[in-house]
């Protein structure tokens, strides 16, 4: 008997070594998978940040700008209309000519004027309108540089390359180096990137109109998909009879969650724009389309969280005589809500990153003005990324990466809040 016990022990011991080995291998494989994933992520962020961080800075050129009364306000009445109509680009050109008096000839002058962004005049105008006593003074002003100058200063353009190989010619390079030598070229924080809409001039372009467009769109999506999704989930989970029809509905909902988003875009185009006549390029239509896309996700998450409420809680409520409605709204919903919200936030995060359906409904337009309502033409963050990625100017490369970083930051905040919500309200029984 004892020899038998000995045999069993030995066999078990042999088995144990094998079991441990398997477990270790499995753990190593898992760890390896995680590491590979992390490596890809690290590469992704390395290239994004490497390409994108320079977009948060913008090259400026310091010039003495003479805001002479004769050129800006010949009437001397400081009438905003007159002040607004003045030729500020001309003022800046004068400042450039004053800085480089030796430059002559139309071509050379054009090259000189190209150092400063065409948008600098607008900014100067706004500055004067906000502050009319500047008229008559000569101010030292940091003017936003042209995108080619910006690229050169940021080192994205090779100064030693052949003149024909770069977009800055030799004389422009000379002037820039002259400016650099006396500290009149500097990189400042690029607030325009966060506060303005799209522009043909990279140095004047920003993501704000896309952010606002995305915001309006998500607002519409949230306002529709959360109540609709939760109501659907409650009905299907708690009230609907379990029969072939509800099975069919369930299968369809699960299927819809996997339908390519561009299909929803086509549906939105046919239904909302062509049939209902809603405006093109408007966040409201984008929101509706994204609602179609998000709804299945919300419904599935809400049903799962309703299902995960322990049946003992329902029994307890029914047992003291609560009606079905009371049971659901007093006891089940409060427990399921965090899960529903988590699912909704994740659905919204997906909607925020979606671009394909928006292309179908015309949200790919070039939008300079910041939309003021969900009915105004707008674009969305991922579409802005798409537009910039498609632009030929070198300066849009870094802006594309920067816009992706901003998009990722929003996604991170949303997903983190979903996790926080889950952690915060997680209950154990």
């Amino acid at each position: 008997m004892s020899s038998h016990a000995q045999g069993v022990k030995e066999r078990v011991a042999r088995g144990i070594a094998r079991r441990y080995r398997r477990e270790r291998n499995f753990r190593l494989a898992g760890l390896g998978a995680v590491l590979v994933g992390m490596a890809f992520l690290a590469f992704f962020f390395y290239t994004l940040i490497g390409n994108g961080y320079t977009a948060f800075l913008q090259t400026h050129i310091l010039l003495e700008v003479e805001l002479s009364e004769s050129s800006i306000d010949p009437d001397g009445e400081r009438d905003p209309q007159t002040l607004g109509r003045a030729n500020y680009q001309g003022v800046i050109r004068n400042a450039l000519m004053a800085r480089f008096p030796q430059v002559e000839g139309r071509n050379d002058l054009r090259d000189l004027f190209a150092l400063v962004s065409p948008g600098a005049g607008f900014e100067l105008r706004n500055q004067v309108l906000a502050n009319p006593e500047l008229v008559g003074q000569t101010i030292r002003q940091w003017l936003v540089a042209d995108d080619d100058v910006d690229m050169l200063v940021k080192g994205h353009m090779d100064r030693t390359a052949e003149e024909s190989e770069r977009r800055i010619n030799d004389s422009q390079l000379g002037w820039i180096e002259q400016l650099e030598a006396d500290g009149s070229v500097a990189r400042h924080f690029n607030h325009r990137f966060f506060t303005s809409g799209d522009s043909r001039d990279p140095e004047m372009s920003g993501i704000w109109s896309a952010v606002v467009g995305s915001f309006f769109m998500l607002l519409v999506t949230l306002a529709l998909s959360f109540p609709l999704g939760v109501a659907t989930a409650i009905y299907l989970e708690e009230f609907a009879p379990k029969n072939r029809w509800t099975d069919l509905i369930e299968v369809n909902i699960n299927n819809l969650a996997a339908v390519p988003s561009i299909v929803f875009g086509l549906l939105g185009l046919a239904l909302f724009i062509n049939f209902f006549g809603l405006p093109r390029s408007a966040p409201v239509v984008g929101g509706l389309v994204l609602t179609l896309m998000t709804l299945p996700v919300v419904i599935i998450a809400a049903r799962a969280s309703l299902m995960s409420v322990p049946p003992s809680i329902r029994e307890a409520a029914l047992g003291v005589g609560a009606s079905k409605m009371q049971t659901i709204f007093h006891h089940v919903m409060p427990l399921a809500l965090p899960g529903m919200l988590t699912g909704t936030i994740i659905g919204m995060a997906r909607a925020l990153g979606e671009s394909a359906p928006l292309l179908m409904i015309g949200m790919v337009a070039f939008i300079v003005d910041v939309p003021e309502s969900p009915l105004d033409p707008a674009t969305a963050l991922p579409v802005q990324v798409y537009l910039w990625a498609d632009s030929p100017e070198r300066a849009f490369v870094e802006r594309t990466s920067a816009a992706i970083l901003v998009l990722l930051a929003f996604l991170l905040v949303m997903n983190a809040s979903a996790i926080l919500l889950r952690k915060r309200f997680e209950r154990r029984w």
Partner: protein
């Protein structure tokens, strides 16, 4: 038609254990011969019934979980339901407050009267019924709310209190009757789920009696508790029977013997034998009952 047959069956005299053996108990009490015509051994009626169940059948889909069970629940009495696992004890008591309605595949046939009213009648509201027939579950299941709100929930939804003072009184007296007041009176605002298992179960009992039911159904109320908490609940049951009719499902023969006046033995969906607890445990009439209580089986 069915009404007529019911009445006929009802009126078949089955009073006292002695009268039974000639009529229905087969010579060898084997479950095979306990067919549809099986008649429960012993007196399933009660002199002073609150609930009268007659010819109750329950099906879960095709599974015939309860077969032709008739049983009275007497006032101010504890009746314990015993029997091997899966014999239908829970299913039976869940018929009494229509909890089986919540299971899609469950179908209940037969007649169940509460104070003479048919609980399946159209006039009978299931919410009302569950206020009158309370239930305590096997696993303590307080709401994830405060102790106070747990007890106050029933009175609130039924509108039993006109104002806060009245509600406070109901909560207090329910907790007192559940023997929990002294332990929780300083922590009424703390979550009910933070109490110990035994306290949670007494909280659930307090929650049930706060609604002022006539019958309390308890499905293995002590199976998740230690002996001390169990003794506590048993004392409580003894106390509660002054005001309520109590049905308790238990797997502990000792518990059945300690707390109940009547005992019913279920086997494979049939009510085999019912009688006074003393008689069932000292002198069971049916062989299956005897096998079970002597531990030869189950």
């Amino acid at each position: 038609m069915s009404q007529a047959t019911k009445v006929e069956k009802d009126t078949v005299p089955q009073v006292g254990a002695g009268t039974v053996e000639e009529t229905s108990v087969p010579a060898a009490p084997d479950i095979r011969v306990v067919g549809d015509t099986y008649r429960t051994v012993g007196d399933y009626t009660s002199a002073n019934p609150v609930v009268r169940a007659r010819n109750v059948d329950v099906f879960y889909g095709d599974n015939h979980a309860i077969q032709n069970v008739s049983l009275d629940i007497g006032k101010n009495q504890v009746i314990s339901l015993i029997g091997p696992s899966g014999c239908g004890k829970s299913t039976f008591i869940r018929c009494l407050n229509r909890m089986n309605d919540t299971i899609d595949i469950a179908r209940v046939h037969g007649e169940i009267l509460l104070d003479g009213e048919d609980i399946h009648a159209r006039r009978m509201d299931v919410v009302m019924l569950r206020a009158r027939v309370g239930m305590v579950f096997q696993k303590p299941n307080p709401f994830p709310k405060s102790v106070y709100d747990n007890v106050a929930y029933g009175p609130r939804i039924h509108g039993l209190a006109r104002n806060r003072q009245e509600l406070d009184r109901i909560v207090r007296s329910s907790l007192e009757r559940a023997g929990l007041w002294t332990e929780v009176k300083d922590r009424l605002d703390e979550p009910g789920t933070g109490l110990s298992g035994g306290q949670q179960q007494r909280l659930c009992i307090a929650r049930t009696i706060a609604v002022g039911p006539e019958v309390i159904l308890m499905d293995e109320p002590c199976s998740a508790l230690d002996p001390i908490a169990t003794a506590h609940i048993e004392d409580l049951i003894d106390e509660l029977k002054k005001n309520f009719a109590i049905v308790i499902v238990t797997h502990s023969m000792q518990q059945a013997a300690r707390v109940s006046q009547r005992t019913a033995y279920f086997h494979l969906g049939r009510l085999i034998e019912v009688g006074d607890t003393d008689q069932i445990f000292t002198n069971p009439q049916h062989e299956l009952t005897e096998d079970y209580i002597t531990g030869r089986f189950g």
